[in-house]
Symmetry: C2
Subunit: 136 residues, 2 copies
C-alpha cells in the first residue's frame, strides 16, 4: 500500500499552480479537463505519489458543493492497494461506512472506491487499484 495522490480542491487552478509550481517547486505533468466530472485537474508528481489540484468547472458537482461549504483545501487522500475487493470486504466486515461498497471502474480500467469520513476520523479516503493489464 502507498499514497497514490492527495486531491486539493481550488477555485482557480492558475493561482494554485503559481504557488505549488512557481513557488514550492513542483512540476506539472499534465492538466486535464474532465467534462464528465465537471473538473479541471493538474497532476503534480511528488515522490512516488502526486498532488491533484482540482478546480470545479460546474457548480453541481460534489467537489464544488464541498468547496462551497469548506473553502479550498484537502479534499481526499487516495491509497493504492493490491486487491481492492479484499480490502472493501474486510472494511465492510468491521462495520466501516463505505460510499462505494463495490469497486467503481474508470475508463482506463482502474478500480476505485471511497470510504466515508465518518469512519476514517474525518478524512475522505479513496482506495485505488491499477488494472492488471493497463488499458493504455
Amino acid at each position: 500500500m502507498r499514497i497514490e495522490h492527495l486531491a486539493i480542491a481550488v477555485q482557480d487552478l492558475d493561482s494554485a499552480l503559481a504557488f505549488y509550481c512557481d513557488a514550492l517547486g513542483l512540476s506539472v505533468q499534465r492538466v486535464e479537463e474532465v467534462q464528465r466530472e465537471g473538473v479541471r485537474v493538474a497532476f503534480l508528481p511528488l515522490g512516488d505519489a502526486h498532488i491533484e489540484l482540482v478546480q470545479p468547472t460546474c457548480d453541481a458537482t460534489g467537489i464544488a458543493k464541498w468547496m462551497g461549504k469548506h473553502g479550498p483545501g484537502m479534499h481526499h487522500v487516495c491509497i493504492a492497494v493490491e486487491d481492492i475487493s479484499a480490502v472493501l470486504a474486510r472494511l465492510a466486515e468491521r462495520g466501516v461506512e463505505l460510499i462505494n461498497p463495490q469497486p467503481m471502474r474508470r475508463e482506463d480500467g482502474t478500480a476505485y472506491a471511497f470510504i466515508h469520513p465518518r469512519s476514517t476520523f474525518g478524512v475522505l479516503i479513496e482506495l485505488y487499484q491499477r488494472p492488471e493489464r493497463p488499458a493504455q
Copy 2:
C-alpha cells in the same frame, strides 16, 4: 521532494488504530508520547511515507484547539525537501506567508517549517529536511 507524512488529528488514538490498522490493514511502527508537544502519536508506514495519528493529551496545544474547531481530520501534509532554507527563501520571495520564516530544529537534528494555509489553498504544509549526519 516527496510526501514525508500526513498528520491526522484524532480524539482517541485506540479507536483510530482500530480503523487504520485492524480494518484498513496498515501496521504501527511505534507509538510515542511527546510530552513537550502535548500529543500521543502513532506512526503508520505507507509506501515511502507514513501516516501520523495525533491525539492531543492537553487542551492548550495548537492541535487540540484546531480539533475543537474542525473536529478530527487531516491536520497537515509534510513534504521532505533537500534544502529547506533554499525553499523558504524562494517562498518568501514570492510573498508566500510562512509560519516559520526560518527553519526550526527538532532534537534529532531534522529541520522543519510550516507554510500558512492562506498561501497554500487551505492546506497546512510542513517542509522537512533530514539532518546531513543523523543524530541517531
